[in-house]
Subunit: 187 residues, 2 copies
């Protein structure tokens, strides 16, 4: 039994980079993990989906379902997924046993994301070539109680990674030392 | 790295029962597994899909993708899925590294499946209440070269399970003792 590290944030916030770097840290520790990248998943699992609210939510739900499947075994699921809506993220949290879903908000400022514009989508959104761009003409609902917030504009990628890695390690430790609920309170 | 046991056959052929019983045998050996049941997956991963050829194939592809993800870690994926079309099954095989996809044809005769009619769907198909029922008014393409064929009309569930389990164990052993391809032929 493992856990899911869910990286939510605007396009170009640094989610995929962080996922990959956190993966390297886990690998060094000999921990098994899988990166379920929103963009990659769209090739396999969610090819049929567009960018309406319903489609975005279904994208999040499907990835969340696969994440909890992996996490229910010994695989840490790392999910860099925009996942703009609170409700869908909350649903994915509910799919997981208590404590096994870590919501990490990648709080990089829109201006910086737009400056990076890794896939050139912000430019296309500004010129009207692309519609439903999260942060421009599509909403992003900031997490209200994420387990962690990191800002790649304020800290280096390495520092952000260290924070995410430390959180995951602490949580795994704490889950491992918890007594099963049925035995709670017995001497 | 593990493998996928793909159980294909008509509705009521015994796929889910076999999946569950094979799971128990794996459990006794301390092997980690996950059952990706076609019907259960339709609740989570493939809720949007109907029973057209395209939808059935997408159902098979998505389950196959998740199966190979699990199998790429140390989880044996057991997939009881009608998966009526050869082409889609072949695509799922291709998603797996060589040797790590075991196609098991549950060859229970249509007459017996219809007699069992676990979900009452054959009756509904015969009365015209349900359309696109595999085996009645929708095709089932028999596997041409499955790794194993079992017939729950000719053998007990226990015997069929033993065959599937033995195949999986033999394959895991053989994969574990294979040299990595890059070293093949070196002394």
């Amino acid at each position: 039994m493992s856990l899911t590290i869910w990286l939510t944030g605007l396009p170009s916030a640094g989610k995929s980079t962080l996922a990959s770097e956190v993966g390297k840290l886990l690998d060094k520790r000999g921990l098994d993990f899988e990166i379920l990248d929103g963009d990659v998943m769209r090739e396999y699992l969610t090819k049929d989906l567009g960018f309406s609210r319903l489609d975005r939510d279904n994208n999040v739900r499907r990835i969340g379902y696969v994440a909890q499947l992996l996490a229910s075994h010994d695989v840490i699921a790392i999910c860099p997924v925009i996942s703009p809506y609170r409700q869908a993220r909350a649903e994915v949290r509910q799919l997981h046993p208590p404590g096994r879903f870590l919501e990490v908000y990648i709080a990089t400022a829109l201006a910086l994301c737009e400056e990076r514009d890794v896939k050139g989508l912000y430019a296309k959104a500004r010129s009207g070539e692309v519609a439903n761009m999260t942060g421009i003409d599509d909403p992003y609902e900031v997490p209200e109680a994420p387990e962690l917030t990191v800002d790649t504009g304020q800290r280096t990628i390495e520092e952000c990674c260290d924070q995410i890695f430390a959180l995951a390690m602490a949580r795994l430790d704490s889950l491992a030392t918890q007594r099963p609920p049925s035995q709670a309170g017995t001497p």
